[in-house]
Symmetry: C2
Subunit: 142 residues, 2 copies
Amino acid sequence: MQTDEIIRMMSAQGLRITDQRKTLAKLFADTPGYQSPKDVYDYMGRSYAGLSFDTVYRNLRVLDELGVLEQVVFEDGVKFKLHCRGHDHHHHMICLQCGKTYPISYCPMDQTEVPDDFKVVKHKFEVFGYCKACSLEEESRA
Amino acid sequence: MQTDEIIRMMSAQGLRITDQRKTLAKLFADTPGYQSPKDVYDYMGRSYAGLSFDTVYRNLRVLDELGVLEQVVFEDGVKFKLHCRGHDHHHHMICLQCGKTYPISYCPMDQTEVPDDFKVVKHKFEVFGYCKACSLEEESRA
DNA sequence: GTGTATGCAAAACATTTGCAGGATG
DNA sequence: CATCCTGCAAATGTTTTGCATACAC
């Protein structure tokens, strides 16, 4: 997704387009993987000397609520990426090194036998590992 | 699993059996679902007036490292339960209300097509919802 | 007795909130 | 020019650490 497309979405939702939000849009347009609040803060901090952490948190939360971003909880904390829109329901393979994600179209819920008396609300299926680039890097380090 | 069986495991690993750890063992022997550190603190606090939070955290961490407990990260924080031992690889249905878990023997990795260049390390498959008891309760509240 | 576990206090983080000034539409 | 957004500071919540005392072995 393009930076200005994201900005248009924010604008359409009634948000004001500040320089900070433009930078935020560019970050998520340019990076395919999950970003921690700290990653975002570091990236934005390069453009804004006086950036504060609460601005980062506030915007991440707002954009998550508006459905522009999606939030996922990992072992090492909360992370964000662009919300996958316009696609069918799917899951992800996630690189433990670079955070990049790859779609898995297969959904295990079809095959899962759920007892009648259990009311399913949601499910989570995630595969973790190392993508090609990061595997090679690790090999060369070893 | 029985309380004294857990205590025996702790003892076998070289841990000293304090009253706090006995209580901890009883808690996890008696409760089938996931417990947050706060749940554990509240439960143990009933027996020990001067209980401190760091004792809870320390013991949960130690028992997780020894493989007695297992730690899972949920949206609303870290939780613990007895490690499923002696069983084959499996996944869980988890009740969002009471935290009780039910095993799912089916593993989606068999059906998942993973590209050759992605090195899989681990995976997570969890189904969330409401168990029979909690569903009924919710209905009667509505 | 020796060494580990505990409780206390304080530190280290992560995240949220109140408020005044500044920028956006 | 009204309102939303930001930055600062401080509050809040969670988890960790250092240290002296107490307890298990």
